[in-house]
């Protein structure tokens, strides 16, 4: 009998792409963030890869939102917030002396937990970003492209002038995503984007993430482990630990491909968390 050629079955659980070919978007080294001197995160070190969905999971207060807000320098807006350590974005120091936070936020967009459309029309919501950044050529085309990418165009194309607040919660969140995409970012940060939405709207957002990651790099914070399991390629588990002086800060416990975190985590703390045996 003739021996068969090797079977090419799309690997169901393989790492994608191979470790050697991953492109680093964020290189985070020994990151420590404090508010008025109290550390919220200590010594976090890992890399975020291009066109991956990277999920940050962990118990409340472990610094997930604090971490993600460092990536687009939104922590600058909080008085008393101090950031130490290294965050390199495509090799450049994100907190360098001559780095403009406005430019950072154009490249690294953010979607928030509770949908927060502006009290303006749908069109003006999406157009706001390009307008403030001076990207005013072909504004209508930009709005259309962004709404299509956010899988919202078909539902709103006939009522762009209507108020954004007339949309449902799930639609508003997709509008916020479209708003973010309109400025042509490189990275999209999502802080618990679906926690205020019903299950169907949540599934739509998750499907959207699968589509968007082909063109963008996505970092998502979620307290819903199953969501992280469904959408993320890489998962980082943060936990709260007591320091020497008794202060509680978030630390990175484990960072690996998602299927490994949920089938065979290396650290017992990770296993306790994902199996729900915490505390």
């Amino acid at each position: 009998m003739v021996s068969a050629a090797p079977i090419h079955i799309e690997a169901l659980a393989a790492e994608r792409p191979e470790p050697g070919t991953r492109e680093v978007v964020f290189d985070i080294g020994d990151l420590t963030v404090s508010y008025d001197g109290n550390p919220a995160i200590k010594g976090a070190t890992f890399e975020v890869y291009r066109n991956f969905v990277t999920a940050i999971i962990g118990p409340s207060g472990c610094g997930k939102s604090t971490f993600i807000r460092c990536l687009n320098r939104m922590n600058d807006l909080i008085q008393g917030a101090g950031v130490e350590g290294r965050i390199l974005y495509h090799g450049q120091d994100l907190y360098g002396r001559d780095v403009d936070p406005v430019e950072v936020r154009r490249r690294i967009g953010m979607v928030f937990q509770k949908p927060n459309p502006f009290p303006k029309s749908i069109h003006d919501n999406v157009a706001f970003g390009p307008r403030v950044l001076g990207m005013t050529s072909d504004l209508d085309a930009r709005v259309e492209v962004a709404l299509k990418q956010a899988a919202l165009w078909e539902e709103v194309k006939d009522r762009l002038k209507k108020s954004a607040l007339s949309l449902s919660g799930g639609q508003q969140q997709r509008l916020c995503i479209a708003r973010c995409l309109a400025v042509e970012p490189d990275v999209i940060l999502m802080d618990e984007p679906a926690s205020a939405l019903d299950p169907i709207a949540t599934t739509r957002i998750e499907d959207l993430m699968h589509e968007l990651k082909k063109d963008y790099t996505i970092v998502i914070v979620t307290h819903n482990m199953q969501q992280a399991a469904r959408v993320a390629d890489m998962t980082a588990f943060f936990n709260i630990e007591k320091g020497e002086e008794g202060e509680r800060a978030g630390i990175l416990v484990e960072y690996d491909i998602t299927s490994k975190i949920f089938t065979q985590p290396s650290d017992k703390r990770t296993e306790d968390y994902v199996t729900g045996r915490f505390g």
Partner: protein
């Protein structure tokens, strides 16, 4: 909705179909090696089992990852569990083909009984048919088709019993007797292949109805569910 998840389920089923193709080739190869008494072909069959094992492992790992990441429920969960079990049955079938090949090598040089060998050909064809029916029923979620495997299995069982009688009649020649013993085991292997096919049919019924029941119960042969 959940297109990635749906694609993963489809890929899982496709993998199972691929595995069936491999098993069929192994079966055909092993019977051909028996008919032609060809030890080289038998070696190929034995080596080929590595591919089946690799696919088996890949499916196992895929299921593990899918369960962890997608938390399937209801019909999706039953589907994944049915694939898990069927995967094992197919791997067992492939192992049985290896056993047939090994026995063929051991029987090489011993005087064959042509009638018996032809009988095996027919048995193998029946087994092949059962495997195809099992897969088609699974893919089409056809419970009736799955249940029809019981009748097909009955034919193989009868043939298996006739083989034993036939071997007993072979006579006193020691080489003949040795050959006959080997053949009994081969016959048993083919009969086991048929049983595994029925087991796959039971998985199909479980997948569709949510109830697991045995089509026939070996310890209560008179009770046959319809």
């Amino acid at each position: 909705m959940r297109t990635t998840f749906t694609e993963e389920l489809d890929t899982l089923q496709a993998s199972l179909s691929e595995e069936v193709e491999l098993v069929l080739r192994a079966l055909r190869g092993s019977i051909n090696s028996l008919r032609e008494s060809d030890p080289d072909l038998a070696d190929e069959v034995i080596a080929f089992d590595d591919e089946v094992d690799a696919l088996y492992l890949s499916i196992e790992q895929g299921i593990e990852s899918l369960l962890a990441r997608q938390t399937p429920v209801a019909v999706d969960l039953r589907f994944v569990l049915a694939v898990l079990h069927s995967n094992l049955h197919l791997e067992r079938m492939a192992d049985l083909c290896v056993t047939i090949a090994k026995l063929t090598k051991l029987a090489h040089g011993l005087p064959p009984d042509e009638m018996l060998v032809e009988g095996f050909d027919e048995m193998a064809s029946r087994a092949e048919e059962m495997i195809r029916v099992a897969l088609d029923s699974f893919v089409n979620r056809d419970v009736a088709g799955a249940e029809s495997l019981v009748d097909l299995d009955e034919l193989i069982d009868r043939t298996n019993r006739r083989v034993v009688e036939h071997v007993l009649e072979l006579g006193g020649d020691p080489e003949r007797r040795e050959w006959g013993l080997r053949m009994i085991v081969i016959s048993r292997c083919l009969e086991r292949v048929g049983d595994h096919a029925v087991d796959i049919g039971e998985q199909t019924a479980y997948l569709v109805t949510g109830e697991f029941r045995e089509f026939t119960d070996a310890s209560h042969p008179e009770r046959v569910d319809t």
